[in-house]
Amino acid sequence: MTRTLLLVGLCACAPSAPVSGDVRVVLPFSARIGAAPFVCGQSYDSVGADAARIWPTDLRFYVHDVQLKNDQGEYVNVALDVVEPYQQATVAMLDFEDASANCETGTPSTRDRITGVVASGHYRGLRFRIGVPEALNHVNGDEVDDPLNNSGVGAGMLWIWLTGYKFFKLDFATSDKKEPDFSVHIGSMACALEADVAVCRNANRPLIELDDFLLETSTVVLDVAAIVSELPTNDPSQKPGCHSVNEAPACWATMPQFGLDFGFDSQGVPAAPGKTPQVVFSVEAQ
């Protein structure tokens, strides 16, 4: 932890200079809908269980606990650079909407990479959690910084502070009116306030493990179509999609795609177990 804390201090204003034995890493991401890149305003056919047409309007998500896997099979922490407005020391945002066309809820800037520093070594494999770390997830609205700040790139990521943030925000339109009418919003649920501290029973922070990831040659690919591949997106009964509500059928069809268990009964048994491995993220050569 000593090294991590030192790095945080060094990189308060700019990407950090690695200390001896550390290397800077760039972890690139791309977002697609099927085979095509995610572009605001563009239409995509054959999406969802009913092969419908959609128009994406927002795609942003938070990640934390970023780690690379070394030759010994051990996971090594990647200390995040502080990069305003997209990265703090313990959380980063990836942002694929640019506020153009019908992506009205977002901001013009985008972010398609995570940058940081890791101990020098040979790595094959990457893992990260989607979401805002618990320590930041319920901070009062008057105490947050980017990328959680609702006056910046976090606009619209605010959910309710008891449940915390929308960890993952996908919105799209299912008619040519291009008004967003379908969402997959992942966030913590089943929360209670205990002495002014929010405690959530269902954390809903997917752990994404990508064993084939190679530094400098791999890109992490997010496929929107995979999120909704088992959900009829043009079925009015499924609208407005999934907002992490335990009882919502749209969540039973989408949350397990990220590897999350869902549809818990009173004994906590999931009716829709998470897929192993998850099917939303994959690795591709750059």
């Binding site: 609205g141 609702n150 008891l162 089943a190 929360c191």
Partner: protein, 354 residues
């Protein structure tokens, strides 16, 4: 029962033979004085109240620059004369013109609401809650960055933020703090009922209102507790028997937040202060008038697994057992909770323009 000890019958003359006690009956009760049953004001250590910040919060509350269109302020849906509610069941006057899922609540005595705000208690506190309507695309529809930029270019705001927080750089956090402080300052304890309890010269209850208070204590006080008239807790009051998870689960009530099926259909007990001026009622504004509300509790309660046990009767029926006289008296009592000073106080109104 301390209030009962000090009752003085000012004028004791007869309506004893009449089946209905009219509110005009010349019988008035007052007390010899006593404190209101209100808990101590909670201290907010991270945002202590101070006049400069309350005044700044008032400026912001009434400023239409907080909305994308420049036409809506917080007060557009929280009007002082209506107990800071909006008088319509579900508003559609937001930026998107979509009909909202829930009724605009009153903003009264929220300084005591320490277990979350919103109908489902989903926001931890006012500092967290106040930003939500500003950025909601269906409410004020703003971009907070643009709002802060607009305020920063106004010298009056730069000075006001500097006075309140010692910083002339206007930031989201201080905006939230100031709005929260103004809302916490909206305290109502000046109704005729309050004056009656305190034994003030112009405080009284009529005989009918006095009976109404007895009915209230028996039938309603369980949830509308203390002289805040809310227990700040969540209850299913029998509006529905099924609770859909449509529209982001907002009909689930508290269960949307807690994830607990036992909380389905439970919503936060609203205060009854200024209730006579803040129609319509319930989390979705479905009941248009106070007589309709009382009738709901008498004959409209729908049973479900999560129905509050206070609405279950020994014989298996549900709802409050009230005679017509009791219902009328209850209505009369509720009308004594109107605080004219609160509804018209210049301290809560827009600041006079210079």
């Amino acid at each position: 029962m301390r209030w009962a000890m000090g009752i003085v019958i000012l004028v004791g003359c007869g309506t004893a033979s009449a089946p209905h006690v009219e509110d005009t009956a010349p019988i008035r009760y007052t007390t010899a004085g006593g404190p209101l049953d209100i808990p101590p004001l909670p201290v907010v250590a991270h945002n202590p109240q101070r006049q400069s910040a309350i005044e700044l919060g008032r400026m912001l509350f009434y400023d239409t620059r907080l909305s994308a269109s420049g036409t809506l302020s917080c007060a557009s849906c929280h009007a002082q004369a209506l107990g800071f509610a909006d008088g319509v069941a579900l508003s559609d006057r937001g930026a998107s013109n979509k009909t909202l899922g829930r009724h605009a609540p009153t903003l009264i005595n929220l300084a005591w609401a320490t277990n979350g705000v919103f109908w489902d208690g989903g926001a931890k506190n006012l500092e967290s809650q106040v930003l939500a309507p500003i950025v909601s695309p269906d409410e004020m529809g703003s971009n907070l960055g643009q709002v802060l930029h607009a305020l920063q270019s106004d010298i009056d705001y730069v000075r006001a933020f500097d006075d309140a927080f010692g910083d002339d750089l206007i930031e989201q956090g201080d905006l939230a703090k100031a709005l929260a402080q103004f809302i916490r300052a909206l305290v109502s304890t000046g109704s005729r009922y309050d004056r009656y309890v305190r034994g003030e010269a112009d405080g009284y209850l009529t005989e009918r209102e006095f009976l109404g208070r007895e009915v209230f204590d028996r039938a309603c006080r369980g949830c509308h507790a203390s002289d805040l008239f809310t227990d700040q807790a969540f209850h299913n009051n029998g509006l529905d028997s099924v609770f859909s998870d449509e529209h982001e689960g907002i009909h689930l009530g508290r269960a949307r937040i807690s994830g607990d099926g036992a909380d389905r259909g439970k919503f936060k007990t609203p205060t009854l202060r200024n209730i006579a001026v803040s129609a319509p009622y319930m989390h979705d504004g479905r009941l248009a008038s106070l007589p309709e509300v009382i009738e709901h509790y008498r004959s409209g309660v729908r049973d479900s697994e999560t129905l509050d046990p206070r609405l279950r009767n020994i014989d298996g029926s549900v709802g409050l057992v009230l005679s017509d006289d009791e219902a009328g008296a209850l209505l009369a009592f509720l009308e004594t909770l109107t605080d004219e000073d609160f509804l018209s106080s210049a301290s809560f109104a827009p600041r006079p323009t210079r």
